[in-house]
């Protein structure tokens, strides 16, 4: 059923390897700027639940970056589909839709994990030492990356052009990045806004990543929710691979 899955995954990894220097640099620019602007300049002196703002910010950036980098696989899929026509090579090969989607989703998740590594290193440079040895911390990152890589593959199968893809990023990823509990505690918002924001997967991911990084027990419901949302997106991606034909 998953024959050919490694081909799809390895292709993305070999391309990533060729671009790794540029990619690492690009992954580090936004977190670095956020840490300077929000962590040092605006948030200096502020504390949340006994943690400095920069300590509060690092787990939020981990959640945000794993989301954006996992979702960025959609751009690579679109380039392969509309520009290089590599998608045709996969479509004509004797592999199942599940193998294709699994390969691309895992590639997106790998990008998500690499970006987290970059942020943790930058955090160390800013003298931020949190609990990164907790398995639940990494599980939360994995689930968050799974959700957004699956969403990315699903949407990449539906869009008809690069422009559509950019629009989806603006409407889905950008608002979520700023409102999903990355830069400020969701509890500070009005109750009605909290209810809306709690529907976003990133809110749950940021919450459990932060709690595990602070060494406090996370809400296991958030893990379950992320898993369910991820499976739904993955299934939607599977169903939409055929739509990408024609």
């Amino acid at each position: 059923m998953l024959n050919g899955f490694t081909a799809v995954y390895l292709r993305e990894m070999w391309i990533l390897k060729r671009r790794i220097k540029r990619q690492l640099l690009s992954m580090s620019v936004s977190p670095f700027l956020y840490l300077i602007a929000f962590g040092y300049a605006m948030g200096k002196g502020a504390t949340f639940d006994g943690h400095t703002y920069i300590e509060f910010l690092i787990p939020g950036l981990v959640a945000m970056s794993s989301m954006t980098q996992a979702f960025a696989i959609s751009t690579d899929i679109n380039v392969a589909r509309f520009y290089w026509h590599i998608f045709e090579e996969f479509q004509a090969a004797p592999i199942s839709n599940a193998a294709y989607v699994a390969g691309e989703v895992l590639a997106g998740m790998t990008r998500g994990f690499i970006s987290v590594g970059v942020i943790l290193v930058i955090g160390l440079c800013f003298n931020v030492f949190l609990d990164y040895g907790n398995l639940l911390f990494w599980l939360a990152i994995g689930l968050n990356s799974f959700v957004f890589a699956s969403l990315a593959v699903w949407l990449a199968m539906l869009v008809k052009s690069h422009a559509d893809q950019a629009m989806l990023t603006n409407f889905i990823i950008t608002p979520m990045a700023f409102l999903g509990g990355t830069f400020f505690p969701v509890e500070r918002l009005p109750v009605w806004a909290q209810k809306i924001i709690c529907l976003l997967p990133l809110t749950h991911a940021a919450a459990v990543i932060r709690k595990t990084a602070f060494g406090t027990p996370p809400d296991l419901f958030s893990y379950l929710l992320l898993l369910v949302i991820g499976v739904i997106f993955f299934y939607a991606a599977l169903k939409c691979v055929d739509i990408a034909r024609d």
């Binding site: 081909a7 390895l10 391309i15 026509h85 090969a93 004797p94 055929d242 034909r245 024609d246």
Partner: protein, 279 residues
């Protein structure tokens, strides 16, 4: 080896293929000739699983293209009209990914890639990035990639489009070599000389319909042996003759300038459809 029955494809209100039916025999080189927009690429896309059919059926190596899709896909290799190689990867990496898609085990994969790259004269460049290759090399790599898993059918969609005549002839020689190994080849082209040189049989396709299927020689014989092109008030007219003596007799009566030449497949297409293949 390839069987198509009443295959139809429509895009909204446009019928791109109109109930086409034909078979391609094992080891045959079958050329699919028609002007741009005739439905050549659509046929290949349906047969190879890139586009869904609207109605009708097709089998590759005995496997139905949609009911037994994974088995049918193992039967063929595909060279698309556009260059669909990973430009940022090396020749070897492109080949390796393809072999993995066909589930070829590691030792066999490596050996086969080296063998096929030697076959298409790219062995010494196997670590070069695809973006560093010339157009002709990229085409050879696409053919190499399409045959590395030893398919019984090879689909070639306009394989020499955009190449200069010298490189085109080199690709033709390669296609002939592949056919000699017993591979069935389905070739779409709008180059008349390509179909004449390579094909065992030719299908003329016009506006989504098969006009005729026969050997190139029989198609040309039905039209005539000699052709005379004449210009009348900026309009070209062509007259066909069975024998040279009849053509010479016609020339003797002409006042205008003319060109005498042998009949080719373009003439056959023109006489059957009223259109030219190469517009």
């Amino acid at each position: 080896m390839i069987k198509i029955e009443k295959l139809q494809k429509s895009y909204k209100n446009i019928l791109a293929l109109k109930e086409i039916s034909f078979s391609v025999h094992p080891g045959e080189l079958f050329a699919y000739l028609g002007p741009n927009g005739a439905g050549k690429t659509t046929t290949i896309r349906i047969l190879t699983g890139l586009t869904r059919r609207t109605s009708g059926d097709a089998w590759l190596g005995g496997f139905h293209i949609e009911k037994e899709t994974l088995k049918a896909k193992k039967e063929f290799g595909l060279v698309m009209q556009s260059i669909n190689l990973d430009q940022e990867l090396s020749i070897y990496e492109n080949m390796d990914i393809h072999c993995r898609l066909f589930n070829m085990p590691h030792p066999k994969r490596r050996k086969k890639i080296d063998e096929i790259l030697s076959y298409v004269d790219l062995a010494d460049r196997k670590n070069s990035l695809v973006k560093q290759l010339s157009g002709g090399m990229k085409r050879r790599l696409m053919i190499a990639r399409a045959i590395v898993h030893s398919p019984r059918i090879l689909f070639l969609d306009e394989p020499t489009v955009g190449l200069d005549p010298k490189i085109r002839r080199r690709i033709w020689a390669l296609i002939k070599q592949i056919q000699n190994t017993g591979t069935t080849i389905f070739l779409t082209t709008h180059y008349i000389e390509e179909a004449e040189f390579l094909a065992d049989r030719v299908a003329f396709l016009d506006e989504g319909r098969i006009v005729v299927i026969d050997t190139p020689q029989k198609l040309m014989d039905q039209t005539g042996t000699w052709a005379i092109d004449q210009m009348y008030e900026n309009k070209m007219e062509t007259v066909y003759f069975d024998t040279r003596s009849k053509a010479d007799a016609f020339i003797a009566e002409q006042q205008e300038s003319y060109t005498l030449r042998r009949v080719n497949l373009e003439d056959s297409f023109l006489s059957l459809t009223g259109k030219k293949v190469q517009c």
